[in-house]
């Protein structure tokens, strides 16, 4: 009974491909560029080009498409739902009609566009998180945010919070699984009953989970203080991020493509 086996959104798959080895800052910015582009373009060819770009990224990263699709599985209903809404709710030239429902040409196009937008969006962000370890991801974000220090943005603190949050997601999942198993062994039943009972059944999980999480937070704070942690001032990194020639090249290509696609479509 591996309850959380299916959660893969935001998961990192270790590897040693070109994409894995790019600087995280470059990857984050590239990802951002593609996403902005997604919302600017309004022609089919634009989506096709962006889609092919991201898909070739996935191929280069040597990550099995299974992982990419596993991340998509949770979101596919949202995509379908929004697509249907657009399909039926847009006014315009009617091309198809059943009973009170009508499908318009504009609706069809809008629906398809929205679906491709969301689809490529998820693919892009999945590619980012699948190929970038949480540590280098937050490192990259910290460095990027530190450019905004002049407006007093606490870059280090934000990054530290993200690091800790990311660090504890698997721990908490593991713990939830353990507590669930323990309560099941004590006679709890999480699989049957109506919604009221099911909600009540969460108490034996949530109370111990919170008790442990608060205790852990306390211990972590003390441990950090004991190690002399005092914020980001003058802190150095074990792994210094460095921009190599390939990062610059990668970024130039992405930017160029983004601009071309953005202008043309």
């Amino acid at each position: 009974m591996n309850i959380f086996r299916n959660i893969s959104f935001g998961q990192y798959i270790p590897g040693n491909s070109l994409i894995h080895n790019f600087d995280p800052r470059v990857k984050i910015l590239g990802c951002l560029l593609i996403i902005i582009n997604l919302f600017l373009i309004s022609q089919f060819w634009g989506f096709l080009i962006l889609g092919v770009m991201v898909w070739s990224g996935i191929i280069i990263s040597k990550i099995h498409p299974r992982f990419v699709f596993r991340g998509l599985r949770t979101i596919i209903y949202l995509i379908l739902f929004t697509m249907l809404l657009h399909l039926f709710m847009t006014e315009g030239e009617v091309i198809f009609r059943i009973w009170i429902f009508k499908i318009t040409k504009e609706g069809l196009i809008n629906g398809l566009f929205i679906a491709s937008r969301l689809f490529i969006l998820i693919l892009t962000t999945s590619l980012l998180t699948l190929t970038t370890s949480p540590i280098s991801l937050t490192d990259g974000i910290e460095r990027l945010l530190s450019y905004f220090k002049f407006i007093k943005l606490p870059a280090h603190e934000i990054a530290m919070m993200m690091t800790i949050a990311l660090r504890f997601i698997p721990t908490l999942l593991e713990e939830t699984e353990k507590i669930m198993k323990a309560q099941i062994s004590r006679g709890a039943d999480f699989e049957s009953g109506n919604i009221v009972n099911r909600t009540k059944n969460l108490i034996p999980i949530l109370v111990p989970l919170f008790v442990n999480a608060f205790r852990r937070a306390d211990e972590l704070a003390i441990a950090m203080e004991a190690k002399g942690y005092r914020g980001g001032e003058g802190r150095t990194h074990y792994r210094e991020l460095q921009i190599h020639r390939k990062d610059i090249l990668f970024f130039t290509i992405i930017t160029a493509l983004a601009i071309i696609v953005g202008i043309l479509f």
Binding site: R5, I13, K181, Q183, S185, R186, D189
Partner: protein, 290 residues
């Protein structure tokens, strides 16, 4: 036959890059009333193995039979299995959540749908089994000491009236007093209430003197299965080889034997060692007199 595991394999994260084999072809039979110890390194698959006993995990391949029923089949009443085989997890104090200890222990019986009267009876019964006073029922479980919390957690499993109790390192992180208290209660639960016990532990000394049968796991396999005396005498070398070692007195006698002294092997407790040494001294004294 109470429990039978047949060629059980279990792999975590099957078909993923982080795939790890946790159990490798486990065959195991357990009879009612046995007192079994399970030792092995951290990560050797002990916890994974015990989770198969009450259907929390289903084997990647292989079969688990409880009283002749294959529990991996669809439609098996796992609730009933889990009531028969009580599983106490490591650090069970982390699962306490009720307002007071009465409710904590009554959680399981309540889920079984017993009457209020029967529930009350069971709560007092199991409190006695773990040797805690009735006055505890009003207190919050979070106000107790670590050892007491753990005994409450064990009591909350016992209140299901299991036929077998599986305990995953019940003495981890306890002070010596709490440790011996828990262990003597477990012994009592076995001896007086006839409950089958499977005890996972790192504590060689205690295991050696308590259990009737010892299982040794290494890298997902059960490598040794027999009485502690047999395992600690005949397979001492193997145990040292895989880094598990022996109980201190056993180790001491083993080293003496290795240096050519004619001394009994497989001595398990300090008392036994004392007797052996006295015997040797007496024989020596007798020889000198002659």
């Amino acid at each position: 036959m109470f429990i039978r595991l047949e060629n059980v394999n279990y792999t975590y994260n099957l078909n993923m890059p982080f795939e790890t084999v946790a159990l490798n072809n486990i065959n195991l039979e357990i009879e009612k009333g046995e007192f079994i110890g399970l030792i092995g390194h951290t990560g050797c698959g002990k916890t994974t193995l015990i989770q198969h006993l009450n259907g929390l995990l289903t084997p990647t391949s292989g079969k688990v039979y409880i009283e002749g029923i294959d529990i991996c089949q669809k439609g098996v009443n796992l609730k009933l299995i889990r009531q028969k085989i009580g599983l106490v997890f490591q650090y069970p104090e982390n699962q306490l959540f009720e307002e007071n200890i009465f409710e904590e222990i009554a959680f399981g019986p309540r889920k079984l749908g017993l009457t209020e009267e029967e529930i009350k009876k069971r709560v007092y019964e199991v409190l006695e089994m773990v040797d805690l006073d009735v006055s505890y029922t009003e207190r919050s479980p979070f106000s107790l000491s670590g050892g007491e919390m753990r005994r409450i957690a064990i009591a909350s499993i016992l209140s299901l009236k299991p036929q077998m109790l599986v305990l995953d390192e019940p003495t981890a992180n306890l002070d010596p007093q709490g440790r011996s208290k828990i262990l003597s209660e477990i012994k009592n639960i076995h001896d007086h209430y006839g409950i089958t016990i499977l005890l996972v532990s790192h504590n060689m000394e205690k295991i050696a003197e308590m259990v009737e049968r010892l299982l040794v796991m290494n890298k997902g396999k059960i490598i040794l299965d027999g009485s502690p005396r047999e395992i600690f005498s005949r397979h001492a070398e193997q145990l040292i080889d895989i880094g598990l070692g022996l109980p201190q007195v056993t180790q001491c006698f083993y080293e003496l034997k290795k240096r050519g002294k004619s001394i009994k092997e497989g001595v398990l407790t300090v008392e036994e060692a004392e007797r052996e040494v006295l015997k040797k001294i007496k024989a020596l004294a007798n020889n000198l007199q002659k």
